[in-house]
Every structure is written in structure tokens, then in C-alpha cells.
């Protein structure tokens, strides 16, 4: 909690810098009656001082809090007595360090407390305290120093407004590049781990192998120790669930979009449209719960009553519910493009004597088709990337099957299962999740780019 106090202190310093800078500028021209002789409004002199007092110090604070713990632990490990660390593997060492940290903070410790451990904990606490105090001193010194320099510049001829605006502009440029940085971060992190994975497992096996069993053994002599990473069953499972979802979502979504935009009386439209859009706002975990506890048992019983053998975690249940989730997505995108079709096309068709449905089928849909296809592609990309429904309602077993009543697993399910247990960063099992993530990212990216391109092209056509 100390860091929060420091943050408050920093805010106080900024406020003080604002008032001091402003006052210095005003008194520099001889009091409030003379402010018209300043280059900028007085507030800008204050802002200039406050920004200089705050921004560098905040940056330092963020960096320091991010790095201090690692630095302290490194120092601590270097200072541990030789007999404590001798012959310990990396994992053991991590446990030891954890114990030391816990002991220092007064939490439970997993091993017996030896005097050496006690000493190490004391050392850790000392280093930690030292680090915190030096952070306070450094951050405050930086804030006061920069603030003082900025305050010194607050003279009447100083172009404070231009300076402040340059700083604000720079901050906005940084903000807008965060989107690029995010993409870069995704690509680099996923790519880097995937490359490590592909150095252990050949890409050929990964993309074309048909056996998926990522369990790696704890001991080298166990049966089935190597694990198999053939992702084809995951791809087919993902495709099957998505296909079922699209079979539900596209007809219902498209037809309701057509009905709502062309036929429905205004009253019905005003009620039905927002209600349908509620489906888009429901969290996916809720759909997952609905699929696993209501739809799956229902389908199972239905199947049993007609003599079919349905798995309790069938692809059908997950796909159906996912389709329901995607309905509003398809319908609102299609409605947009249907509404974008110029009225003149409709009028032309009616003038030739076509009925409404003929106009829709022969004129509006063909005219809106590129947009609809784009929307459907976006929906497919969403279905492929959907996680919670399949985690909760589809299975874990990687079956290579074409039977929708069977249990299948998907790419996203495997990512979640591989990464939500105990992890070690260099086992093929963990890294496989990143390879799957890369595949998922690449496929959805291609779909999205394609879809957005089609939609944009289409819009330009009628604008």
C-alpha cells in the first residue's frame, strides 16, 4: 500500500507545482491585472510545471515497481549461503525464494524454518525496505527537480501553451500507438513461444498429425511419455462446432434481419430488435452454463428416447448454443447492409410488378450479398475463437469424428486446459498452447481482414 501513498504525494506535488508555476508567471508581469502581457493564459504556466513534476516521476515509479522485486530477488539469491542453494534445481530454488518471501511477510511457510531461512528472510526484508525507501527518495527527487526547473522557466515571454500542447500531443500519439503495440505484443509473444514449440515438435506433425494427447510424463520411463501433438482432431472439432453454430445463426439471423427491416410494423421492431440484441450482451460463461446444464442433458434425453447414443458433452449442444449467441451478430450486420441498399432498387423492382418477397430474394439479397458474406465471415471468426461455451459444454477428448452427437474438443478448449494447470514455461505441453494460439490468431486475422475488406468495398459501392 506504500506505493499508493507515494502516488498521492506525487499528486500533491503536481498540484503545488501548478499553483506555484501559475503564481510565478502572474507575479512576473506584475499581478493579475497585467496577465494580458503573458504569452499564454496563466493556467498553462501552472500546467507546464505540473506536467513536468508529474510525468517523469510517474514513469520512474511505474518502472521501479515493475523491476524492484526481480532485482531484490536476484540480489538475495546471490547472497544466499552456498550450502542452501547447492544442488538445487531451478524449480526448487523458486520454492526456496518463495518461502523466504512468505516468511518475511509473515505468511505460511511450506518447510521448517531453519535459522538460515530466518536470516535470508531478514535479509530479504532489509533489501525490500531499502528498495522502497530509495524509490521514494528517487521519485520525489525527480518530481521536485523537474518541477523546479519547469517552475524556473515560467517567465512572461515563455511559450507555455505551445509547450503544454506539444506534451499533450505526444501523450496522445503514444496512446494511439498502443493498439499497434498490442498487436505486435500478441504476434511476438505467441510467435516466439510457438517457434520454441516447433523446435521440439515438427510443424508437419502438428498440422497434419491425427493424434492429440499432450500429456507429457513426469518421469522419462513412464508409458506414453512423449505425448502426441497432432492437432487435426482439434481443427475438425472446431470446424464442426462452428459449422453447427452457423447453421443455426445464419438462417435465423438473416431471416429475422429481413423481417425486421422490410416487414415488421414499427412497434414490433422497436421491441424485438433490442430484445434480440440482449443475446449479444449476455456473457459467454452464461451460455456455457446453459449449454452444459440445460441443453446438453435435453439433447441427450431426446437422443435416448429415439434410440440414439448421445455423448453427455456433445458437439451439437455446444454448437446450438453458440449459434444462439451469434444470431444477433449476424442479424445486426445483415440489417445494416440491407438498409444500405438504395431505395431506388426496391422501387424499380416494385414498379415491374414484383412482390415484396420477390424483390427481397431477387434484388435486395443479391445487392447486399457481399456485405452479408462479410458479416457471416466475421461471425465465423467469432465462432472459431469462442471459448467459454466449448470449454463448459464440449469435451476434452480429441476425437476425430464427423458425428455431431459425439464429444469433440476445440482449439480454444485445449488452450485453456493446457494453460490452467501447473505450468512450466519450457515443456512442450505449455508451448503447444501458444502454437494453437498462433494458429487461432492467424486464422481469425485472415477472416477478419477479408470480411472487413469486403464490407468496406461494399459500402463504397453505394455511398
Amino acid at each position: 500500500m506504500q506505493d499508493w501513498i507515494l502516488l498521492l504525494v506525487l499528486l500533491a506535488v503536481m498540484t503545488a507545482a501548478y499553483h506555484l508555476g501559475r503564481r510565478r508567471a502572474v507575479s512576473g508581469v506584475g499581478g493579475p491585472s497585467q496577465v494580458h502581457r503573458l504569452h499564454s493564459l496563466p493556467a498553462y504556466y501552472g500546467l507546464y510545471a505540473a506536467l513536468w513534476a508529474g510525468l517523469p516521476a510517474l514513469l520512474l515509479l511505474a518502472l521501479w515497481t515493475g523491476l524492484q522485486d526481480q532485482l531484490v530477488l536476484m540480489l538475495l539469491q546471490a547472497q544466499l549461503p552456498r550450502e542452501m542453494t547447492a544442488g538445487l534445481s531451478e524449480g526448487r530454488l523458486g520454492l526456496l525464494v518463495n518461502d523466504i518471501k512468505n516468511l518475511a511477510s509473515g505468511a505460511m511457510v511450506s518447510t521448517e524454518v531453519s535459522p538460515e531461512l530466518q536470516a535470508a528472510a531478514a535479509q530479504y526484508a532489509r533489501l525490500d525496505r531499502l528498495g522502497r525507501w530509495s524509490m521514494w527518495v528517487a521519485v520525489l527527487a525527480l518530481a521536485l527537480g523537474c518541477g523546479w526547473i519547469a517552475w524556473g522557466r515560467a517567465r512572461p515571454r515563455f511559450k507555455a501553451r505551445n509547450q503544454v500542447e506539444t506534451m499533450v500531443m505526444a501523450v496522445m500519439v503514444i496512446f494511439s500507438s498502443i493498439a499497434i503495440l498490442t498487436t505486435l505484443g500478441i504476434v511476438l509473444s505467441v510467435l516466439f513461444e510457438s517457434l520454441r514449440f516447433f523446435s521440439m515438435v515438427s510443424p508437419l506433425e502438428f498440422f497434419f498429425g491425427t493424434l492429440w494427447s499432450p500429456q507429457t510424463a513426469l518421469r522419462a520411463d513412464q508409458v506414453g511419455a512423449s505425448g502426441a501433438f497432432g492437432a487435426v482432431p482439434l481443427f475438425t472439432g472446431t470446424l464442426m462446432v462452428s459449422a453447427i453454430a452457423m447453421l443455426v445463426a445464419v438462417p435465423i439471423g438473416l431471416l429475422s434481419a429481413i423481417y425486421l427491416s422490410e416487414y415488421a410494423p414499427r412497434r414490433l421492431r422497436a421491441v424485438a430488435k433490442p430484445v434480440l440484441e440482449v443475446l449479444a450482451g449476455i456473457p459467454t460463461v452464461v451460455y456455457g452454463f446453459f449449454a452444459a446444464l440445460t441443453v446438453a442433458p435435453f439433447i441427450r434425453e431426446l437422443g435416448q428416447s429415439v434410440g440414439l447414443d448421445v455423448a453427455s458433452e456433445s458437439a451439437l449442444a455446444a454448437g446450438l448454443v453458440m449459434g444462439v449467441m451469434i444470431i444477433p451478430f449476424v442479424s445486426s450486420l445483415s440489417e445494416d447492409v440491407i438498409n444500405a441498399v438504395p431505395q431506388s432498387l426496391r422501387d424499380g423492382s416494385y414498379a415491374l410488378g414484383a412482390t415484396e418477397s420477390e424483390t427481397i430474394k431477387r434484388v435486395i439479397i443479391p445487392a447486399a450479398l457481399p456485405g452479408i458474406v462479410g458479416g457471416v465471415l466475421l461471425a465465423v471468426s467469432r465462432a472459431i475463437g469462442e471459448t467459454m461455451i466449448v470449454v463448459m459444454a464440449a469435451g476434452l477428448a480429441a476425437n476425430l469424428t464427423a458425428n455431431p452427437l459425439d464429444s469433440v474438443t476445440t482449439v480454444t478448449v485445449q488452450i485453456v486446459t493446457l494453460l490452467t494447470g501447473d505450468q512450466e514455461f519450457d515443456s512442450a505441453k505449455t508451448l503447444a498452447a501458444f502454437a494453437l494460439g498462433l494458429t487461432l490468431f492467424a486464422v481469425t486475422l485472415v477472416l477478419n481482414v477479408l470480411a472487413l475488406h469486403i464490407v468496406r468495398k461494399y459500402r463504397e459501392q453505394y455511398d
Binding site: G66, T284, M392
Partner: protein, 435 residues
Amino acid sequence: MTDQTPASAPHKRTIDAVNASLKRRRAKERRFRRLGAAAVALGLLFVALLFADIVGKGHTAFQQTYIKLPVVLERAQIDPEGSGSAEVIARANYLGIIRAALRAHFPEVTARRDKRALYQMVSVGAPQLLRDRVLADPALIGTTAEVWLLADDDIDMVVKGQIDRTLPESKRRVKDQTLGWIERLESEGRITKRFNTIFFTNGTSREPELAGIAGALAGSFYTLALTLLLSFPIGVGAAIYLEEFAPKNRWTDLIEVNINNLAAVPSIVFGLLGLAVFIGIFGVPRSTPLVAALVLTLMTLPTIIISSRAALKSVPPSIREAALGVGASSLQTQFHHVLPLALPGMLTGAIIGMAQALGETAPLLMIGMIAFIVDVPAGFTDPATVLPVQIFLWADSPERAFVERTSAAIMVLLAFLILMNLAAVLLRRRFERRW
């Protein structure tokens, strides 16, 4: 042109062909219209089914079964020296006291196994609740008080009718013997259902009757607050720059395409990013609202940027020209004139982004929010879980009683989401201006 029939057959005019087909075409028209109406009806039916299912399963969780028993709170057992100090009272053996009360009420139960079944009627959390009760009211010591004891989840399920009493014993979780005790207690008026405050004040637990959503709610609150704090300024800043200042060139085109794509990237990929970058490289502590907020910020940014840009676009250029005309700098124009007018639209976008973040689960599973955490978090760096993840964890639990609790947690989550969306709609209605 198609009319090539010779004049010798005058009855084959186009109008006849049209008239002949008219009936079929009108029927087709009606069919198509009905198909559309059916699609809408089906969509609405799904909404109704979903809500009916959740509410039907969850509404019972807001009540909890209690058993009233005369409990002998002997001074010798609780506070033998009469010191009255809280420490001594807190250390007494309340489990033994409750068990004695059960034995006293059912004196016919003597066999060891039967006794164990009897003890299991009361929640394992009951002794602690009794302790708190005695601590709050030390005057009870030395009396025999009628105390409402928290029932076990199986008893709760029987009383609420979710375990069918008519099933054969072998298919039922609760045995005939226990059922007999429940029926006796019911006939004596010693069983009641009360509003389930535990559900709102406790963190999670392995015991359904002791599990609550307070921890998850607090975690969601911290996460969302930090997400808003980070993503709103960044999103608005980026939107202003991209919409108003950025030169039209390759670089800004790239950013533009990029933002649109990020909005459609599967959320689980953001989890991978958080795991590899925030936890792996920067060492942000796992399972904390801090790391969750960082991931969710990156996830909601595209939504906020896109809606903020739309809001900026809807401010007419005349406002900008007027401000520039009286000598405002371009940034002053933006911050003093355009931004206040665009703010309602931006806030609407931010609320929708926050609603999206509140319901998000998948990326948070990757960054350790899935850990079993009983304590209610008190800060941004405490281990925590969030409401949707709590729902996911409970949905996985085998106990029957967790089904209704999961549904109830979903109801709470949906209530928050509906409130947020309502706020967005109201904001839009209240401040929307047509120029």
C-alpha cells in the same frame, strides 16, 4: 419480346399468365413473410428460454435453510473462569455444543454411524456462526438458547424440493433416516428458510451453504475500476488524435485497420498475451485485479476508440471552425469545445466496453484468476477472482446445491450488465443531439 404467340391464339396474353401465377406468388409471399416472423419469434423464444431457465434454477438460492435447536451454552464449557474475554469465548468447542444439542434433540440415535449422519445435518460452518453469535451477545452464556443453525446443503436441497423425496433411497443423496429427521423437524416447525445473507457476504467455499459472491464481486469491482481508469483516457486520447490530428498516410491507415482487427481478435488470445508479456516478462503478480485490468484494458480499447471516434465525428465541423475562428488553438478547440459535446457518446461507448469487460472470462483463466481464493480481496494486488470466473468454477462443482448458486450468481451478473446497458441507453437518450 417473349410474346411470340400468333394472333390466332388471343387468350394467351401476358396478363393472363400473370393472373394465373398470382395466387402462387401471393402464397409464396405469405410463406416468406411467415418464415421471417418465425425466425424473429425463435430468436425471442431463445431469450425467454435462457432467462426462464436461469431464473428458474437460481431464484431458490436467495433463501437458505436453517434448523432451530435448543442449544445449551454452559458457562463451564465456554468461559469456565467467567473472565468474559473474547479470546476465551472464541476458543470454546462450539462444534461439541452443537453436536450435543443434536443428540439431545434426537436421543434415540445412538449408533456411531447414525450419529455421524445426524451431525452432518448441520453445516460445518455452523460452529463458527454460533461462535460469532455468542461473541456478539455474551449474555447468552449460561442459558439454553433456541438457535437457528445453518443447515447442510443436502438438507437445504431436500427442504427446497430439489432432491426428490419420492425416489428410492439408493438413487437419492439423502438417506431415509435423515429424511425422517427432516420431516420430524419440519413438523415441529424447527426448519425455516431465510434470506440468504451468506451468499452476499462470504467469499467462495467448498461447502455450497457457505459459498458467497462477495469475493468475486470485490474482485470484479477492483478490476473494472482499474480497467476504466486505464482504458478511458487512453481510448479518448487515441480517438482524438486519430480522428482530428493524424495525417492521412500509410501509418495511420495501418493503425486504423489494426484497431478494427483487434476488436475482432478472440479474447482468449489477449489472455495469451497477458500470460506471456505481463506475467512472463514484466512480472506482474498473477491472479490479481492489476493484471486482469491490464489485459481487459487492451481488450476494451478498440471498442472505446471506435465509439469515441464515432462520437467525435458526429460533432459538426462548424463548432470547430467557430472556435478556431475566435483564435483558439487546435488543442483548445478539441478540449474546450469538441470534447464536451462528444463526451456523452464516448461515455456510452465506455460503459458498453466495461459491460463487455465485466462478462469476460476466457482471457482471465489464462492469467490465474481461476485460483481458489476464499478471502475477499482488499486491493489491486491481492489475489482475487471475478464474477464470471466464479460462475465458471461453480458450474464445474459436482454438488447439486452449486447449480442454484451458480444460477443466482448469473442473475447478479446479468443484473449488473442490464443496469450498465440501461445507463448507456439513458445517457444516449438524455444527451444525444441531432445537429
